[in-house]
Amino acid sequence: MSLSSLWRAATQHRLFWPVAALIVLLLINVPFTPGFFEIHLKNGHLYGSLVSIVLFGSPLILVSIGMTLVIATGGIDLSVGAVVAISGALACLVVSKQADQNSVAGVLLSFGLALAAALVCGAWNGLLVARLGIQPIIATLILMVAGRGVAQLITGGQIITVNSDSYSLIGGGYWLTLPFSLFVVALVVVLSMVLTRRTALGLLVEAVGGNAEASRLAGIRSRRIKIMAYVFCGLCAGVAGLMISSNVSAADGNNAGLWIELDAILAVVIGGTSLTGGRFHLGGTIVGALIIQTLTTTIYTIGVPTQTNLVFKAVVVIIVCLLQSAAFREKAFGALTKRRNPARKDPGASVDAAPQLEVSP
């Protein structure tokens, strides 16, 4: 195999561009922070920039994984931020009411209640989308608006602080020298990968996202698959809410998980999963979430004023979306990208393209 064909094979791989972007972002840090890739062992804990990227990025990775499955079924979940706030608020409320905040049983109880609430939220979204047939954007918009209100109702409009070592383990604690949240993320990632790629579940999800009606006629219980995706997404958001609140040992109904839904959707899109549903790539999503977290860290370390963070993000979204858009690539690169995948599942494109020829003078 010649070098150029090897290069072509590598660039054709769907993870190539996201991973390349991640590596470039990481390398940008090196001139600004000399010891960027160093990892130290202090007091039995691993420290270093890479560790903190993973630590602070873990809630986003979790939410993005749930979001990937929902987007793969052709939906979207805007309510994850509200679910993050609800789950964190409920858990902190339960812990703060206990006489001994350090008791493991009490913390486990709070986790259980918070995750149950997240489960209910996910099931509610799923029912609205799958049973009542409401557009996913709008169905989840309801919980996005009302959920913040519920979270503030739980906290009474205050910021609830807890003082519990066992509670802060999940979001800020260490286990076997590594951040504990890393193990939670790894567990969820392995679980979802095994469930979707080692069983038929992933195929069913892609079938439903490709064409819900056709898959229903083929005998797939598409409604049940959709509800499962939303419930899973709700659960992921619930766990992320526990992590975020435990990391700061406080629950803020108003600001916890604010805009995390946008970051998560962004991570999914960067990872190569199309918003129109169908094919999904969990690996790409994880890389996407890491890119976003690295971008945030990079903005801090290279001394760009933090307020430009959002503008940066917007520019990145636009560039990524433009590169994914076949119409843009055709206009911008012309003959360079003649070999396009003809089986593109975007109804808008195929519908638009044909009549335009007849109409235009």
């Binding site: 979207i76 954007i137 918009l141 913040r148 209100g149 409009g157 959707i265 963070n309 007849e358 109409v359």
Partner: protein
């Protein structure tokens, strides 16, 4: 709402259900019922004073303008998530230009409007010509304009310019001793203009046609590209105008102004009976939606003991109820 549950079988009820004006009527009657409830409950606190009703326009004028812009976009079947950020950015830009650069408001206002409209135009251009979903493009717009706010200043800038102050304090007297603010009058003018454009101009018909079926509109030879881009430009312009009104209302620029206002705007449009799939709805319904949301806020204020987050929960419940009504209607129409 009882009409919906009982009206199916009889031919008269069926015709009523098919009527596209039904959701607007439902919202309007909901408003009347809620207002009656408020009048009954808070009689002693002067709820029936005409000024309470006028205050709905004064306090929600900016939301009305933003929601009118969103109505255009939603009628074509698109969505604009950048509304709140453009409003926030306009307050920042206005405050910064007036206070820090010393420009008069008369110069600043057209600049702000042009920036908003241009932002909308760019988003529309990308959405149509590069076939990217409106959701993701306007999401990027949301990030971008909110980021620009922070680039201008991280702190809030209060406006002490006497001209702005005078404009904000001006009362337009109405018969009966009540008054409206300049912002409220502007919002009503925008509403009237939108009503005229949507129902009496070619552009308005095109908006409905594209929302009904983009492909059919294209085959009919309608200028789909121009209309779609224009719709997002209108939304950007309306958002910027709403931002100016918001600046008058609150007399400061703050990078966190109007966070999440796009949701209120979309909720008003939906509660006003416009179908999110596009092609069906009325700008008058949007007015009803804004008034209902505004009335919820007033009722919660009058109640006094209820906390502000009940507004969010009530908005969510209302959204749910109206989407259910929409579902029932569209299901019947097809079936």
């Amino acid at each position: 709402m009882s009409v919906i549950s009982r009206g199916g079988p009889s031919p008269h009820g069926y015709r009523l259900l098919q009527d596209r004006r039904l959701p607007v009527l439902v919202t309007a009657s909901l408003f009347v019922v809620m207002f009656g409830f408020g009048a009954f409950r808070y009689q002693a606190y002067g709820f029936l004073d005409a000024q309470v009703f006028m205050n709905l326009f004064i306090d929600n004028g900016y939301l009305l303008v933003a929601a009118v812009g969103a109505t255009f976009v939603i009628l074509t079947g698109g969505i604009d998530l950048s509304v709140g950020s453009v409003i926030g950015f306009t307050t920042m830009l206005t405050a910064w230009l007036v206070e820090k650069q010393g420009l008069p408001l008369l110069v600043v206002a057209p600049i702000a409007l042009a920036v908003g409209a241009f932002g909308g135009y760019l988003m529309g251009y990308v959405i149509h010509h590069f076939e990217i979903q409106p959701f993701i493009v306007t999401l990027a717009g949301l990030f971008f304009f909110r980021g620009l706010c922070l680039v201008i200043s991280k702190e809030s800038i209060s406006i002490s310019d006497p001209a702005v102050d005078r404009l904000a304090q001006t009362h337009v007297p109405l018969p009966g001793g009540s008054f409206l603010s300049i912002a409220a009058v502007v919002s009503l003018v925008v509403l009237a203009a939108a009503f005229y454009v949507l129902h009496y101009t070619r552009f308005g018909r095109r908006v409905y046609a594209i929302g009904g079926s983009e492909q059919s509109a294209l085959l009919m030879g309608l200028p789909v590209a121009g209309t779609k881009i224009a719709v997002y430009t209108v939304s950007g312009f309306c958002s910027a105008l709403a931002g100016l009104l918001f600046t008058l209302y609150i007399q400061s620029g703050d990078p966190l102004h109007a966070v999440g206002l796009e949701l209120d705007a979309i909720a008003s449009v939906v509660v006003g009976g416009t179908l999110l799939t596009g092609g069906s709805g009325y700008v008058i319904g949007t007015l009803c939606g804004v008034l209902v949301l505004g009335l919820i806020k007033s009722l919660i204020q009058f109640e006094g003991t209820l906390s502000s987050w009940w507004t969010k929960i009530a908005t969510g419940v209302l959204l749910f109820a109206f989407i259910l009504i929409q579902r029932t209607m569209t299901a019947r129409r097809r079936g």
